[in-house]
Amino acid sequence: MVMGVPARDHRGIPKSNDPSTTTKTTAAETSLDSCTSGPWSRNRWEGSWSHGRRRRHHPLQGLRRSSENRVLAGICGGLAQRTGIDVTLLRIGFVALGLMSGFPVLIYAAMWLVVPLDKETTNIFSRAVNDRRGLRLFIAVIPVVVVAQIVISLLHIGFIGIVGWPVFLAAGLTILIWRNASEPERVWINDDVAPMLSLGTERQGRAKLMLRAGAGVLLGAGGIVVLIIGHTTAAALRPIGGALLIIAAIVVIFGPWWVSLVRDLMSERQARALAEERAQMAAHVHDSVLQTLALIQRSSDDPRQVVRLARGQERELRAWLFEGRPPGTIGDEATTLSEGVGLLQRQVEDDHGVTVQVVMVGECALTDGLRALLDAAREATVNAAKWSGAPQVSLYAEVERDVVMLFVRDRGRGFDPDRVPSDRQGIAQSIRARMARYGGTVAIRSSSGEGTEVELSMPNSAASPERTPASR
């Protein structure tokens, strides 16, 4: 059974020199992976097909957003497939019309909400109607639109007035879209939006800060210029006073509600952070305590081994609880990838009595992402050692220009990745989630009797690979 096999495996590992290509592939893989393992599995698919066949009276009835041919929501891709018009033409048309009136933007957002993705049967809207907080947020946007519209009409900036309100409403709709998109689509949107959001997060570089400040100053200056050019006399500024009054009124009426919404959002964010923390903790506990307990059960006839395992685990747990050093991770003792891999090799060989054959090409310094990669690799290696029954596990790591690839392969009994219960922590938390947190991807190929290969790939933008001549 092959699962989430990206096209690249038949070509070997692509030596891509174009970072954008690589990220696109990775994003697609991620969504593909979660499609297969997530709740959007086969029966829903089949449902979608029969559904589409039953009623196709309306030309747009069977319209699906394209999950492959997409820039934003995949609507142009879907329309192109449906109508046979060239997708680039459609896209240019949408953008051109959008610049003229703003309505197409609103239509686009509405279609995003209503037209289901080609792999799903339900559209986002059907989920959004039950999302009370999302609806409240959307309604909260309407007064903002009204205020903006009043200001704009008073300033006689007709063009922005025409383009403005559909765009504002469309922006409101994106709240509903974001909150109710299915998990694969969310990952996908996240990948596209993340670079933009990183402009606003605390971890921004100097360059980004300057960029933001520059953009702000430009916009502000532009606004002042428009005001001065549009209103040469002081008398003409009088309507602005009226507008301010209306704005004040709206703020007084809706203000408290907005504040409560923001507070809600913040508490929701905290809850999410807490959940993530819990997931990380579960992954740690799984990698250390649960693994050790399993080992102890297996070696119950060897009391000395049991004592040794228990001691080691106790030491690790103490270090975690009282010194804050997470167990089952590659800590500070390794600073380069090859050191980390060597450490992993020794640990797994010591604990599990298998041979780990390491082949490495290239070398680079360890980043947080690469540490996560090594943790996931260790979990994969331990799994192979524990379950595959093979005496040897192969580990191959290669540092490429902007990605580090790592393969863990055994020739053991193999398993069906679809049959692993979803509550089992190993693959879901310790490998997939761990990699996903740093933007990495996972593909697992396994077939009964032929062994398993886990492919891990982690973007490595921080350090350019430095090659050491004496590779290990």
């Binding site: 070997g12 191959y396 392969r409 090659r467 001549p469 004496a470």
Partner: protein, 220 residues
């Protein structure tokens, strides 16, 4: 294989225990025509008995595995050498390959795999362990990152074709030739010819890394 059912093999290895182990593992599948534990006697006996395949320890008292290769190949170019090592250091492995060995395997290899490697080398193909594939990838990727540092006699020899790169990567990941063939949807024969062509490049290329690894060893 085109070779006779029982290839004649010769063991050059200074550990008697290991020699006995190899003999036992290969069993009746091969005919062991002789054993030697030093360079001088090894050259003499191989030149006299002309086996199909010589299993050659890289670390040999009296000049190392290369000395044996240099003593035999000019007289009997048809004798194929399969290098065995525990060290896995690139300078050891690359030096013995450049001196003319057709393959390299680690001593931890299982009996079945050893036999297959012997057959493969006997048939004139190359045998790459995952580790050797890793060395080759490392050596050939150097120049692309830093600008080629070779005398450039034949640029073809100094780089891997994309397909050769793919084959080596899969071997480095622990795939067998059969699995490589299936994964790339090519025949095992094609995989073998890619690997042989990589071996040729490995022996003839003037790439800085390769020559340095090779000469480092000779100085020791």
């Amino acid at each position: 294989m085109s070779e006779p059912a029982r290839p004649r093999i010769f063991l050059v290895e200074d550990h008697a225990v290991f020699r006995a182990g190899v003999r036992a593992e290969l069993g009746d599948a091969v005919e062991v025509v002789g054993e030697a534990d030093e360079v001088g006697p090894a050259i003499e006996m191989i030149n006299e008995r002309v086996p199909h395949v010589v299993l050659l320890d890289v670390h040999l008292p009296g000049g190392g595995g290369q000395a044996v290769l240099r003593g035999v190949l000019p007289l009997h170019p048809g004798v194929r050498f399969l290098a065995l090592s525990v060290s896995d250091a690139p300078e050891d492995v690359i030096a013995v390959i450049r001196a003319g060995a057709r393959g390299y395997i680690t001593k931890t290899i299982s009996g079945g795999e050893l036999l297959q490697a012997v057959y493969r080398v006997g048939a004139g193909d190359a045998v790459f362990s995952p580790r050797l594939a890793g060395f080759v990838l490392d050596a050939f990727s150097q120049g692309t990152a830093t600008g080629t540092v070779t005398s450039g006699r034949d640029p073809e020899l100094d780089q891997l074709s994309p397909r050769e790169g793919q084959v080596l990567r899969l071997i480095a990941r622990g795939y067998t030739y059969k699995e490589v063939a299936r994964d790339l949807t090519i025949s095992v024969k094609t995989v073998e010819s890619h690997v042989s062509s990589v071996l040729r490049k490995l022996q003839l290329s003037t790439r800085h890394e390769l020559t340095r690894w090779a000469t480092d060893r000779r100085l020791v």
